[in-house]
């Protein structure tokens, strides 16, 4: 997936008639929330500051003012919402940190070449198919989910360490780990989809 929503450029995208509004709002998502540029983020602090910033920036706060002020606020809040969704999701946050380090995170330019990992993914997907026909499918899914959560946590541990390092090799390593986590993300979506289908019966 191209992650072009990370550029911050969208803030300048909207024009009103003839002139473009120029925004000075902080482009760096971490700086916008006053948070350190680290993989680990205090989510309570993140949502607390999100609300504080919304209270200042939201267009409804400018309802008594002119149209231009409201338009400016709409742009600022769109930027804020982008920042929130990026920092809230661990995978998007990791990709963003890599982009800040100048790493191209475009999916098409990196592939996972770890054959052991790919074998493991195949096996997990087979387990998913088997769970569908298990005696107690929901229990089987729950077990599969717990198993994958453990594997995911290990990968997240490695990702955090690599992202904290300034070594370019570590960044390349982090990108590989991020790709692997995206596999897990997809798998988790499939597990949840099947859970939904089973619950609807």
């Amino acid at each position: 997936m191209p992650i072009s929503d990370l550029s911050g450029n969208v803030v300048n995208a909207r024009t009103n008639g003839s002139s473009t509004l120029v925004m000075t709002i902080e482009n760096n998502y971490f700086a916008l929330f006053g948070l350190p540029e680290t993989f680990r983020v205090d989510t309570a602090q993140l949502s607390d500051r999100y609300l504080s910033l919304q209270k200042t920036l939201h267009p409804d706060r400018y309802a008594h003012l002119g149209e231009r002020e409201q338009l400016r606020a709409v742009q600022a809040v769109a930027h804020l919402n982008d920042a929130l969704s990026t920092l809230k999701s661990p995978l998007k946050r990791a990709a963003y940190l890599l982009e800040l380090k100048g790493v191209d995170t475009d999916a098409s330019s990196t592939t996972v070449s770890d054959s052991g990992f790919l074998m493991q993914q195949m096996a997990l997907r087979e387990q998913l198919d088997e769970a569908r026909d298990a005696v107690d499918p929901l229990l089987a899914l729950e077990q599969l989910l717990q198993h994958t959560e453990q594997l995911r946590l290990q990968l997240f541990g490695r990702l955090e360490a690599d992202l904290a390092s300034d070594d370019p090799a570590a960044a390349a390593q982090a990108l590989q780990t991020l790709r692997k986590l995206q596999f897990f993300d997809k798998l988790r979506q499939q597990i949840e989809l099947l859970e939904d289908q089973l619950a609807d019966l």
């Binding site: 939201h58 409804d60 606020a73 709409v74």
Partner: protein, 620 residues
């Protein structure tokens, strides 16, 4: 009288309370509400009735009848009496066919694939029918408040898609209403309810109306209503309960076929039976058709079996919404019940057992949405610049683009907070390709055919390059009403194109302009007067806004010279505004806006600094 104290150069005009209303445009009933002396309440007609049945009866050569009288005559004149028009909003001919026998009307194909209803007063689009309902509510608002309104907040089901929202906005425009905001119904209910009880925490709003179902999960924290997720079905409601009973009656009668005009009579009977079963264990029904008359008894238990699948459907949506919000049922402190259909006892018991928490329906479930809309209208009219209240809503359905192979690539996921702007980059797949087709879709499914098509447009004039070298950035923007606009730009050449997404089921802009003009009769002067009035309002707003901004922050953020320039601009615009040249006023507004840009930008930065300043330096 209070004395208005002002310093030189500041606005000496006393703060004027601006008149605004909240409108709940419902499937079965509609309401209008407003805030007066700090109290929100629904407005009654001259006979003291608050509800306005959403029924319009068209007559030849005379104005349409709207409300109770129209509803009373629906069975006598079913073809010309439009009931539950909300179910048709933003729908195409295909959708109508799917609803099939449920609709007693005759359709005529309209422009852009939008169906029109054939009546004695001519073909009417669902947008026009809704506008006729809105006009009555607007008149009631003006009459009760004794003045011109600055605008209205109109509620829509949270699960309404782009086409349905756009159709609602078109209807308002046609009725001559300035839309301050399209507000999601469950969010409106949460406002009325949350402010009433001053509660904090996470709660769910279960809103089952006549034709739509919404479930929203919200968090209320320090006056901020944050919608965490929303779900539902924009074609599921109490009407379906009536249809279930009607089908049962026909079955009991031996599968007789209904004549087209008879259906309304049977549905009225079914609705009465449903309402009777709210308080009684059983009810008697009698119906005669083609000389055959039938009498029977429907028990509450039978009724509950008939509607069981529909209720299960709502609970599935609840489960998904909780999951999207990453909230468990234990974390839901309260469930707010909204909409007339939540009066059905088995709806209540099943929702209660699903959430395992106490239901709250102490505000009249018919009126709570309009009241919430009125509170938000009061804020958006600018009456409460210092109010703590803030509503943060989400988009109900994912938005995406068609990619190779008929697949949909999501650009904005459902339950993303709005307003939002997001860009995605695409490239050409053929050497020398100079145009790119952009197809915008809404829905959760992976295949284009399973999603709703919103718009198609083309980006032309891409300079010829080898495949994969052009970079086209497509930007989606969703505003606070949940409405989408899309633009595309080739990054190397700067070629750009943009569309306001107008779903094919809405009305084209030209069509709306024509209808508005028609509704003014032929008076071009009326249109001129309206434009002038609008420009004057704009000018007043800007002058007032800038004056209050200068008073608050002018000395701190601007030099003496900059302040003088702005004050001079204000005086100039005030002079222009006295005249009646609307073009000159518009220009004046534009110039002063540009001149004050830098100031506005500084104020916003200042605001951000202050928002974060409560936090210690050590944390950062």
């Amino acid at each position: 009288m209070l004395l208005q104290i002002s310093e030189p150069g500041q606005s000496a005009k006393p703060h004027q309370h601006k008149l605004a209303v909240g409108i709940d445009l419902g499937t079965t009933n509609s309401l209008v509400a407003t805030v007066r002396s700090g109290q929100a309440d629904t407005l009654a007609d001259d006979q003291g009735r608050h509800l306005l049945p959403s029924v319009v009866r068209y007559r030849a050569d005379t104005a349409p009848l709207v409300g109770f009288d129209a509803r009373a005559q629906a069975a006598d004149d079913p073809m010309n009496t439009i009931v539950s028009v909300k179910r048709l909003m933003g729908r195409g001919v295909e959708d109508m066919r799917r609803l099939g026998d449920q609709l007693p009307y005759e359709f005529a194909p309209g422009e852009g694939g939008m169906p029109f209803l054939k009546t004695v007063a001519g073909a009417k689009s669902p947008v026009q029918v809704s506008a006729d309902i809105l006009k009555v509510l607007l008149d009631r608002g003006c009459a009760s408040l004794g003045g011109e309104l600055v605008g209205a907040v109109i509620t829509v089901p949270a699960y309404f898609d782009e086409a349905q929202r756009q159709a609602t906005k078109d209807a308002a425009q046609l009725a001559g209403i300035t839309v301050l905001r399209l507000l999601n119904e469950p969010t409106a209910a949460a406002v009325a309810y949350g402010l009433d009880r001053a509660s904090e925490g996470t709660f769910a709003v279960y809103d089952l109306g006549g034709g739509t179902f919404d479930i929203s999960v919200l968090r209320l924290n320090r006056g901020v209503f944050e919608v965490l997720s929303t779900g539902g079905d924009s074609a599921l409601g109490g009407d379906d309960f009536d249809h279930a009973i009607a089908e049962w009656v026909l079955q009991q009668m031996g599968e007789v076929k209904l004549a087209q005009g008879e259906q309304r009579r049977l549905l009225d009977l079914s609705r009465a039976a449903k309402e009777a079963l709210t308080h009684n264990e059983q009810t008697e029904l009698s119906f005669s058709l083609l000389g055959q008359s039938w009498q029977g008894v429907l028990t509450r238990e039978q009724f509950e079996q008939l509607i069981e699948p529909k209720i299960k459907q709502t609970l599935r949506a609840c489960r998904r919404a909780l999951k999207d919000a990453e909230v468990s049922t234990d974390e839901i402190a309260e469930v707010v019940m909204v909409g007339g259909s939540t009066r059905v006892p088995s709806v209540r018991t099943q929702v209660e057992s699903f959430f395992g928490s106490k239901l709250h329906a102490d505000i009249d479930p018919d009126r709570v949405v309009a009241i919430g809309a009125a509170i938000q209208a009061d804020v958006l009219a600018g009456n409460k610049p210092d109010a703590e209240m803030l509503l943060l809503d989400v988009i109900p359905l994912s938005l995406g683009l068609e990619t190779m192979g008929g697949l949909v690539e999501k650009v904005i996921d459902r339950n993303t907070p709005i307003p939002v702007a997001r860009a995605q980059e695409f490239t050409t797949y053929q050497d020398g390709q100079t145009a790119m087709a952009i197809h915008v879709l809404q829905g959760e499914r992976e295949l284009v055919d399973d999603c709703r098509s919103l718009a198609r447009f083309e980006l032309r004039g891409i300079p010829p390059m080898t495949a994969g070298n052009a970079k086209v950035r497509v930007t989606f923007q969703v505003d606070a009403d949940g409405l989408l606009s899309v633009s595309a730009r080739e990054l190397a050449s700067g070629v750009e194109t943009a569309v306001e997404v107008k779903p094919s089921y809405g009305l084209a802009d030209g069509e709306i302009a024509r209808m508005i003009k028609d509704s003014f009769g032929h008076a071009q002067e009326d249109l001129e007067a309206r434009t002038l009035r609008e420009q004057q309002v704009d000018a007043d707003r800007l002058v007032e806004a800038l004056q209050s901004a200068l008073a608050a922050d002018g000395e701190r953020l601007l030099t003496v010279e900059d302040r003088a320039v702005l004050l001079q601009g204000i005086e100039q615009l005030k002079r222009l505004r006295q005249g009646n040249d609307h073009v000159a006023i518009a220009k004046g507004v534009e110039v002063l806006s540009l001149a004050s840009d830098e100031f506005a930008s500084r104020r916003m930065d200042d605001g951000i600094r202050r928002a974060l300043s409560g936090h210690s330096v050590n944390e950062i």
